[in-house]
């Protein structure tokens, strides 16, 4: 377990080892595994639908999500008997904006936050992890220290403080989360790179005098790509949930942005009397995170044969 502390690696234990990934898998076998893996399929289908909704939002949404009408506020969704408006299938919110349209556009915000955070944290974590794993020794020690420091920071509290310091906006939330959620990338990349470093053909490349960057980019990186994807899904889900929690407490994305987290915050005001205002964005959030998790779980199972 070299330098890393044992408990942290426990947290990331279910990741595959380099040998698992490097074992070449015939295409037909892979395809069989994909089709036989329900969670991967379900996750992928939901995810594709949500991404499609986000991209096609301008076509799908019946109204402008920002278009308010104070005279038509808080109309009920279609299954109610009273105070419904045929124009607004899922009713309107407290300033009379179409709830369905806001839910549809909300997918853009959640995906944007999840994806951007994942990219930023992915780059930071991968660079740190691969550097530590490849060079080992003192470099590894320093990176380990950075990882440990990051893990010791109470993310949620520090993120809230950062939002107070820099003002709440979509950009700030993405940057703050991106700068905090790289730990898993770093830990996993580090251990996989360490194992890959000792593989025969990497050794061979080194013996042939290939430069370090070349070895990292050409030999090691392609091999860690699939675990990278698995970690990425975990972090994306994590980022989306954290944004929702921040927005829920009022330390996140600002009104009138149609963010599901913010809609939860706003809908909460009506939780005892118009529970759908709370339930609907909650369900959307739940479905998206569920899909990403299922997709990630499935991906892991597909690329690595599960415990028999």
């Amino acid at each position: 377990m070299t330098n890393t502390n044992a408990t942290i690696s426990l947290m990331f234990r279910q990741q595959q080892t380099a040998e698992d990934i490097l074992e070449p898998s015939p295409w037909s076998k892979l395809r069989r595994r994909i089709l036989g893996n329900h969670s991967f399929l379900i996750g992928a289908v939901i995810l594709v639908v949500i991404v499609a909704v986000a991209i096609l939002a301008p076509l799908l949404a019946p109204h402008d999500p920002y278009d308010q009408d104070l005279t038509k506020r808080l109309t009920n969704p279609f299954w109610h008997e009273k105070k419904i408006d045929p124009d607004h299938a899922l009713g309107t919110d407290k300033v009379g904006r179409d709830y369905l349209s806001r839910l549809i556009y909300g997918s853009q915000i959640s995906l944007l936050i999840g994806f951007s955070t994942m990219l930023i944290s992915g780059v930071i974590g991968t660079v740190l992890g691969v550097t530590a794993g490849y060079f080992g020794g003192r470099v590894d020690m320093v990176v380990n220290f950075i990882i440990n420091t990051r893990l010791a920071m109470p993310v949620f509290l520090v993120a809230m403080a950062a939002v107070v310091a820099f003002g709440a906006s979509l950009t700030v939330v993405i940057l703050v989360l991106g700068l905090f959620l790289w730990d898993r990338f770093a830990v996993v990349m580090r251990s996989i790179t360490m194992q890959a470093r000792d593989l025969d053909y990497v050794k061979a490349a080194r013996a042939m005098g290939c430069s370090t960057p070349y070895i990292i980019v050409r030999e090691i990186f392609p091999n860690v790509l699939s675990s990278l994807t698995v970690v990425a899904t975990v972090e994306m889900a994590n980022a989306i949930l954290l944004e929702a929690a921040l927005s829920f407490l009022g330390f996140g994305v600002q009104a009138p942005t149609p963010s599901w987290g913010l809609m939860l915050n706003e809908g909460r005001e009506y939780m005892f009397f118009s529970p759908w205002l709370l339930a609907l964005p909650g369900v959307c959030l739940f479905l998206l995170v569920l899909a990403i998790n299922l997709f990630g779980d499935g991906l892991r199972d597909v690329t690595l044969e599960r415990e028999r």
Binding site: Q68, T71, K94, A168, Q254, A255, R268, Y270, F272
Partner: protein
């Protein structure tokens, strides 16, 4: 084997549920549980060492002032002082009430008043809000029930302070325990005695049985009262519906409609003198060009449909306000204000004249519910002004305004410390202090004149000019007076007041 474990968990959960008797609120034991939370926990309940609104209702429960301000008519009436007389320009003489006792048994007399006034006006004692006390020169005892109060200079608003923040303390007790001791175990003459205080948790009171000398404040209506600090409004509502509390005062207008329909509960809205406004950075403190132009500010005044906002979002007996102060306040002349009607076409024309035919982008700040600001933004968008909202905690926003000044436009409000005098609001914002975004010398001069003259007519004339100029220049766009929304159990006799000061001791159960 594993089932045992499950059974254990299940049993413990069910068991916990059974012992869960919610706080026994209700008429049965003549007690009352009130939720309070919107203004957050208080630092020290000693009335002279906090700036929190919690401190205001607390002080009225536990202590009394020399003078009582009738909450509906704003007339001054006797309280601890039975009569008063102006001896000269700077001296008031008060005759004091006999037979009043503090909660610890100490009798009330001139020594208490003299001690309190001299102690609080001594800057070394560090009373937190110096403007409440820095007009007092000294107090002296004439006889056991007569006191002379000397002011540093003629101070026309003196009675607003004497009937408001300046509560009378027991001299012997306070000299012994000081602010810290008073904060831990407050002693006053008021209708309720403090049983216990846990900071940020709850305050427990019991009826002061000696409060029977005919105080205009009235006797306490329940024998025991608990005020719980619950910051979250939804938690308050949940507790109300679950029977854990009897009254909440922090809900929204929509909640009033909804809770009002639940059997067993009543809800109502009551207007207050808290004045909402949109401030503009007219002085260019944050180097934002558009708001420094009069035509732009006028355009925004015409673009915002205040009446629709009040009708749909605020409701109750709130109304659109045109003055940079609350119209009942001394000097706040509604006739003098320049009024702006809702007229998007005119707004567009004015914007074009100002050089912004396609509008502009602006940062908009508030600490209040975002829907109010969103309604404003929706109106502005219709004339081409694209606003981006930043909702910040109150102190963070004030901090940004004072230090950076980078808030071109902000929706805020001011409660005037419940004082019925224009100096408590307009003079605070337009006398070139850190909260001033107009920085208008002429205006500051008029306000200074109004604040310091002892002639009511001179004051009125000066304030009148100030009201006219602020509205003509649209330094502020006054919006509406705030409404407080209450929900409570229907058996409760509940009385709301316009000055935003809840008098909890006056609430009682209809049956008892």
């Amino acid at each position: 084997m594993n089932f045992k474990k499950y059974a254990g968990i299940a049993a413990s959960i069910v068991g916990a549920a059974m012992i869960a008797s919610t706080a026994s609120a209700g008429p049965d034991d003549d007690s009352l549980v009130i939720a309070w939370g919107s203004t957050g926990p208080i630092e020290n309940v000693d009335n002279y060492f906090n700036t929190n609104r919690t401190g205001i209702w607390f002080s009225r429960m536990v202590w009394d002032q020399l003078i009582y301000r009738e909450p509906k008519t704003f007339e001054y009436k006797p309280l601890l002082a039975t009569s008063w007389e102006l001896l000269d320009d700077t001296t008031w003489q008060f005759k004091l009430r006999k037979g009043v006792k503090f909660h610890n048994g100490e009798p009330f007399d001139a020594d208490d008043v003299v001690f309190t006034m001299n102690w609080i006006s001594n800057p070394d004692n560090g009373v937190k809000v110096q403007r409440n006390v820095n007009w007092i020169d000294r107090a002296e005892k004439v006889d056991q029930y007569t006191v002379n109060l000397h002011m540093k200079k003629p101070f026309p608003q003196a009675f607003e302070f004497l009937s408001g923040p300046l509560t009378i303390y027991p001299n012997e007790y306070y000299a012994e325990v000081g602010p810290e001791g008073m904060g831990a175990k407050p002693v006053g003459t008021g209708p309720m005695k403090v049983v216990s205080i846990s900071t940020a948790e709850e305050y427990v009171f019991e009826k002061n049985e000696d409060y029977n000398w005919g105080s205009p404040k009235g006797e306490a209506q329940v024998s025991k009262m608990i005020v719980r600090e619950i910051a979250d409004v939804q938690t308050q509502i949940a507790e109300l519906l679950a029977g854990g509390i009897d009254v909440t005062a922090d809900i929204t207008a929509d909640h009033v409609d909804q809770i009002g329909q639940v059997p067993g509960y009543k809800a109502l809205q009551a207007g207050t003198m808290r004045t909402g406004y949109i401030g503009f950075d007219a002085a260019g403190r944050g180097n934002f060009e558009p708001t420094t132009k009069l035509k732009v500010r006028q355009a925004m005044a015409h673009a915002i449909d205040r009446a629709a906002l009040v009708k749909n979002l605020i409701r109750g007996d709130a109304g659109v306000i045109h003055t940079p102060c609350f119209p009942t306040q001394f000097g706040c002349d509604a006739e003098a204000a320049v009024k702006y009607e809702f007229n998007p076409e005119k707004a567009k024309a004015l914007l074009a004249e100002a050089g912004y035919p396609d509008g502009f982008e602006i940062d908009f700040y508030t600490f209040r519910p975002a829907d109010w600001a969103e309604a404003v933004m929706g109106d502005l968008a219709k004339v081409g002004i694209r606003a981006t909202l930043t909702k910040m905690p109150y102190f963070a926003l004030r901090d940004k305004q004072r230090n950076e000044g980078t808030t071109p436009m902000f929706l805020m409000d001011w409660g005037s410390y419940s004082m019925n005098d224009m100096s408590a609001i307009t003079s605070h914002f337009f006398k070139k202090g850190p909260d001033d975004f107009a920085l208008d010398d002429e205006l500051a001069g008029w306000l200074e004149e109004g604040d310091t003259s002892s002639d009511p007519e001179v004051r009125k004339a000066a304030y009148r000019k100030a009201v006219e100029k602020i509205t003509r220049e649209v330094y502020w766009l006054p919006m509406f007076n705030h409404v407080r929304n209450y929900a409570y159990r229907e058996e409760l006799n509940f009385i709301p007041y316009q000055d935003e000061i809840p008098r909890f001791w006056q609430y009682g159960w209809a049956s008892s």
